[in-house]
Symmetry: C2
Subunit: 219 residues, 2 copies
């Protein structure tokens, strides 16, 4: 999966010169992601990672200057993947003949599924965002990139949004949507099911909220 994400983010990595070490690096990244998905960030320790990657502690420090660099590198990879996914999903060609109301509904559904799939990774990095400005920065840049694509898609549909300030409304709607889904992820992970809500019901209600707020009238 790393190979799909383009060139390695060399900022956090000692440049690998042999193919062998490039493989090691990707094994380390993949092992880290696997540990996060299975047991959460707190289980990510150097001993655990190198064992899962069939590597060694020294080898790890041959690739990464320190532990933070590992997580930064993985975060970069994840952010790039998110933007790439959105890029495909929001390709204007795919939506040319779809009414705005349906477009919003589809987007909400897509977001719900995406947040579900990425839950463990998002939770992991959320924890880091509070502590390390590097993570906050990447997150902000990623959000901005996604916002750009959403606005581009809605550019020639301004007339369908009856909110007095469509740009601000789109940004706010995106925030409320992502915030609600993030909160849901966090609550779900905590294992208290008093707060559970059905996927379909959630999609229905969030769509309704977004449509009502943006001022999109039924087709």
């Amino acid at each position: 999966m790393a190979s799909e994400a383009g060139p390695l983010p060399l900022r956090w990595v000692h440049a690998p010169r042999q193919d062998r070490s490039k493989k090691t690096l990707e094994r380390l990244l993949d092992a880290t992601e696997a540990i996060i998905r299975e047991r959460g960030v707190d289980a990510v320790t150097i001993p655990e990672v190198v064992q899962a990657a069939k590597s060694s502690v020294g080898s790890f420090y041959g690739r990464f200057p320190n532990k933070t660099a590992l997580l930064s590198c993985l975060h970069e990879r994840a952010c790039e993947q998110s933007v790439a996914t959105i890029d495909i999903a929001l390709d204007p060609d795919r939506w040319r003949d779809v009414p705005t109301a349906d477009l919003v509904r589809s987007f909400v559904r897509f977001a719900v599924l995406l947040f579900h799939e990425r839950q463990p990774m998002m939770l992991a990095f959320n924890a880091a965002i509070g502590a390390d400005p590097g993570f906050a920065d990447r997150r902000a840049r990623t959000a901005a990139a996604i916002g750009l694509r959403v606005r581009a898609l809605l550019a020639d549909r301004r007339g369908d949004l009856h909110h007095p300030r469509p740009d601000r409304a789109v940004e706010m709607a995106l925030r409320a949507l992502t915030a609600t889904l993030e909160q849901r992820n966090a609550l779900e992970a905590s294992g208290v099911d008093a707060v559970k809500i059905d996927d379909e019901a959630l999609i229905e209600e969030l769509s309704r909220m977004m449509l009502a707020y943006l001022g999109v009238r039924p087709a």
Copy 2:
């Protein structure tokens, strides 16, 4: 401030028998809260806490069985304070003659200010919620208590909510509102100002969103 929160939550505390030790306990709690507000949860270590509370390590373990108990106890206190605050703010008598639209606006404003004031504490406990089910539980109970009061306040205004399922809508609206404010807290704490938004603008947009979603028509 501890004295306002009612009886001490004895579940996490070795019962104090002398007045002296009761004072120590409250000093420990207050010191912990102060450290969280000033430097975040990560700065909460036993040495730091006992120094700030002018106590000692042994004295700490005379009151609390372990470190988690300290944070649980503080969380309980914070949750009780939140519910008490909401209880006063949502007293039906205060709102009897206010139109529903204005009520919603006022509530949004109140929520924005509350989240602002409690930002450090909320961030601190959010971190714990993922790891310890005790925190998730208290959070869920608190949210339920607040939901109850909101629904009570809106009980005889059902006719003003044109959403087809008013109860579900109120719950969902509460979630989106708290989620957005939580996310804002997290982003603000991360120190990336590309995401800043004015308090008044936020109140305006969130009010608009809630009113449109709930289906409240202008007075």
